[in-house]
């Protein structure tokens, strides 16, 4: 699992490296360089997330997910949030009719997205935490208006009966972070609201849509 750990570290590095760059108090480089560097980071975090999905596929084929391992699904969650951010960024690029700064913007993320999500769902059959996280990832996508890949929607429809029950929320007590939200790091105000339990609670009241039902479209 050393290489899974490695992938997680590289994903974290480029994901938060990008945040760090965007938040820097003084922009001591010109706009062109800044954008180029950001594009490279964006590409690299996606690369590592896709690579991680390959590793997950190997693991699934060799050992299966009968015994859920936290290390395995933690990496999948990180990849999934990176994919969500990437899909959202691509939608924004399209809206602005911008030339995508990212090299292979048409790179197909669907298989990797599917593999990572399958890992979460499979681990969630036996363990509450990945089950809750899968729910959180799905609702994050719905709330941010990200179109999840078709195979994932089908997968969610398949497990709609067993994937999540509203009463599951009572069995879950977790402050797992949501890495697509700005407040997910640090301990400033608003951090508690971006944690898993409170997010699921508030989204439960908003009736954002059930898995399998195409949301708001």
């Amino acid at each position: 699992m050393t290489s899974a750990y490695f992938n997680c570290m590289m994903m974290t590095l480029y994901k938060y490296g990008l945040d760090l760059m965007e938040r820097a108090p003084e922009r001591s480089m010109d706009q062109m360089t800044f954008q180029a560097v950001c594009a490279v980071y964006r590409q690299r975090r996606v690369d590592y997330a896709v690579r991680h999905a390959g590793l997950l596929a190997d693991f699934r084929e060799t050992y299966g997910y009968n015994v859920p391992q936290s290390m395995v699904y933690h990496g999948a969650v990180l990849s999934l949030f990176i994919f969500l951010q990437e899909l959202q960024a691509r939608a924004q690029d399209q809206e602005r009719h911008e030339h995508p700064a990212i090299e292979n913007a048409s790179q197909d993320l669907d298989p990797a997205f599917e593999e990572s999500f399958r890992c979460l769902l499979a681990c969630g059959v036996q363990t509450m935490l990945p089950r809750g996280i899968a729910r959180m990832v799905y609702l994050t996508a719905v709330q941010q208006g990200v179109q999840i890949p078709e195979p994932v929607a089908q997968m969610l429809a398949l497990v709609a009966d067993t994937g999540w029950h509203p009463k599951d929320l009572n069995l879950l007590e977790s402050s797992y972070p949501n890495w697509t939200m700005d407040t997910a790091i640090g301990d400033g105000p608003g951090v508690e609201e971006s944690r898993m339990k409170s997010l699921l609670l508030s989204w439960g009241n908003m009736n954002l849509g059930e898995p399998g039902v195409r949301a708001a479209s």
């Binding site: 490695f6 570290m9 760059m21």
Partner: protein, 108 residues
């Protein structure tokens, strides 16, 4: 660096072990557990540096300084990865995940 304080190789000498992934796989595999631990120590060290670079608010610097820091970290991670001994390289049926699996299952 952790390594400067004591020699990991002295405390954890590399001893190949015969290890089987019961109940998933019956065939025993040669496994270098101590080698894995040594590399994990180094990785933890790098992870600590990563955490203090990216998440300490008092360390927030200018753009180019952040860029340099990130690039340096990436280099040290890649150096670590390329220096990994052959037995710890990823493969489809590597025993390392199952080593960790045993840990997760039996030391909850």
């Amino acid at each position: 660096m952790l390594e400067d304080r004591f020699s990991l190789e002295g405390i954890l000498p590399d001893r190949p072990e015969i290890w089987s992934a019961y109940p998933y796989k019956q065939d025993p595999i040669v496994f270098h557990a101590n080698m894995l631990l040594q590399e994990r120590f180094k990785l933890v060290d790098l992870t600590w540096t990563l955490g203090s670079t990216l998440f300490r608010t008092e360390n927030v610097q200018s753009c180019s300084a952040s860029h340099t820091a990130v690039e340096m970290l990436a280099h040290s991670f890649l150096d670590w990865y390329s220096a990994l001994p052959e037995t710890l390289r990823g493969s489809r049926d590597m025993p390392a995940p199952l080593y960790e699996l045993q840990y997760v299952c039996f030391v909850p």
